[in-house]
């Protein structure tokens, strides 16, 4: 299967392990990711807080390049994904927007192709059966709190692949990898996004509540699809511990990292050593029952 691939800025910097593990999984599952040549940043919240047209045009340029190839676009970062979906919807709904955007990007773009989150590509397009068949070292019951955050599922009017209030695609995936998805109430609670950096006193309480809920529900770790969620939960876990006199020690993974590990990847080759909460002790327990 061939699909265009938009990594987004984070996957070259703070989320490099998302890129490495994605490449590993795609390779194992014969998924041909065609990286959009000379792709540009989607503009993130900075663009949509500054100028509507700019916030549409930046993602649209990437989508237009893929449209010319007749390809859908796989987007790993949940934040970029949401910007892409917004553009797609607005261009489809409103001819004037379509024309304005096409003029600004100096390319034809009619949104005939689809943006797909990488999670959706794996779960719905590659398929859970194929993924299950590729598992060599199952997660051996590892208890995973699947954290979807905001942008994979909200707002529902954009036509997402999973439910807005109680999504389950990542949970199904984790179960196929041999893990135990925990039932917990914070699957789609917001982590505060950039707020933790701009104003920790306003952002940290949100991260604290998410970690607390995961721990109370018995999770060993969390899985996510967003470099910003990961940074907030992983990098800032130490600050949360300090502020709340807590002792969370919950590794946070990209779902692709857990997939790659079960397919047989070495932790280092997919960048697991780049996380701040050390996951190696926890991972020592996986792969105990070899699949026949």
């Amino acid at each position: 299967m061939r699909i265009a691939y938009y990594p987004g800025c984070s996957l070259d910097t703070t989320g490099v392990e998302f890129r490495l593990s994605t490449a590993y999984c795609a390779n194992q599952l014969d998924l041909d990711l065609w990286e959009v040549p000379a792709w540009n940043c989607c503009g993130a919240s900075s663009a949509h807080s500054t100028d509507q047209l700019l916030s549409l045009a930046l993602p649209a340029r990437n989508l237009a390049i893929a449209e010319k190839e007749g390809l859908d676009v796989a987007v790993p970062c949940a934040a970029c994904y949401s910007r892409f979906k917004t553009v797609e919807a607005e261009v489809r709904q409103d001819e004037k927007v379509q024309q304005d955007v096409a003029r600004v990007i100096d390319m034809d773009y009619r949104a005939t192709n689809n943006t797909r989150s990488l999670l959706e590509v794996f779960v719905d397009q590659v398929g859970l059966d194929k993924i299950e068949a590729a598992v060599k070292k199952p997660l051996s019951g590892l208890k995973v709190a699947c954290y979807y955050g905001c942008y994979l599922v909200r707002p529902p009017k954009l036509g997402h692949f999973d439910r807005a209030e109680d999504p389950e695609s990542m949970d199904q995936l984790i179960a196929k990898l041999g893990g135990t998805p925990v039932d917990w109430p914070h699957k789609t609670e917001c982590c505060g996004a950039g707020m933790i950096t701009l104003s920790p006193e306003d952002g940290l309480p949100l991260t604290y509540e998410i970690l607390r809920a995961a721990q109370l529900c018995g999770a060993d770790c969390l899985a996510t699809a967003c470099p910003m969620c990961l940074m907030n939960l992983d990098l800032h876990q130490e600050s949360v511990n300090k502020k709340y006199k807590a002792d969370f020690n919950l590794p946070v993974f990209y779902f692709t990292e857990l997939m790659a590990l079960t397919f047989g990847a070495e932790p280092k080759e997919i960048g697991l050593d780049k996380h701040f909460v050390n996951s190696l002790p926890l991972l020592a327990g996986i792969g105990k029952k070899e699949t026949a």
């Binding site: 703070t14 490099v16 540009n40 503009g43 500054t50 100028d51 909200r154 707002p155």
Partner: protein
């Protein structure tokens, strides 16, 4: 006793109702149930709740909404827009208020628009975000360190921040895109 002069606020209410309607947001359908506020993760850091922001606009007190801390504390999480029983897109409303507050220079939390401006300069220049430069410029412009002082050094210790800007040979396409957006606004 003189009556209270209400025509000015009525005009503002009308102006904003129409402006927002054109963007697909009908504030007249809001019946103040407060569901947006109930689900808002940032409500405790706001001066006006999301419901109150809508109320201010209904009442023609747009200036208070534009000068609020609320619009800069909003994390754009889309919870309000997802749950509103009257289909009022409060998340998009927050965007439009930020754009206007920024344009008119009344932002209550100036660090946030400074961050956005610095971010977009990076995108215009390199096509992508150059995080190292973004952090340094932001620190210089706001006169404070990235509040989370440990962010930069920690990321560096993991080899996640680069000392060189990102490279993508787009033939100047992104720079031209920014120029065309500016031309359209006529500035």
């Amino acid at each position: 006793m003189s009556g209270i002069e209400l025509s000015a606020v009525q005009a503002v209410a009308k102006e904003w109702t129409e402006k927002l309607q054109a963007a697909g947001i009908d504030i007249t359908s809001c019946y103040q149930c407060g569901k947006c506020t109930a689900g808002c993760p940032m409500a405790q850091s706001m001066d006006y709740s999301p419901r109150q922001i809508v109320r201010l606009l209904q009442l023609g007190l747009a200036d208070d909404a534009l000068r609020s801390r609320t619009i800069w504390m909003c994390a754009s999480c889309e919870t309000c827009a997802t749950r509103c029983p009257r289909d009022v897109d409060v998340a998009k409303l927050m965007d439009l208020l930020r754009i206007e507050a920024n344009r008119t220079g009344v932002a209550a939390v100036p660090e946030v628009p400074i961050f956005h401006k610095t971010f977009l300069e990076s995108v215009e220049r390199y096509g992508r975000v150059y995080e190292m430069e973004l952090m340094m410029k932001f620190n210089m412009r706001t006169g404070k360190l990235f509040n989370n002082v440990d962010l930069g050094p920690k990321m560096m210790s993991k080899g996640k921040l680069h000392f060189m800007p990102p490279k993508a040979d787009d033939g100047g396409a992104v720079k031209k895109l920014f120029e065309r957006v500016r031309e359209r606004k006529g500035n």
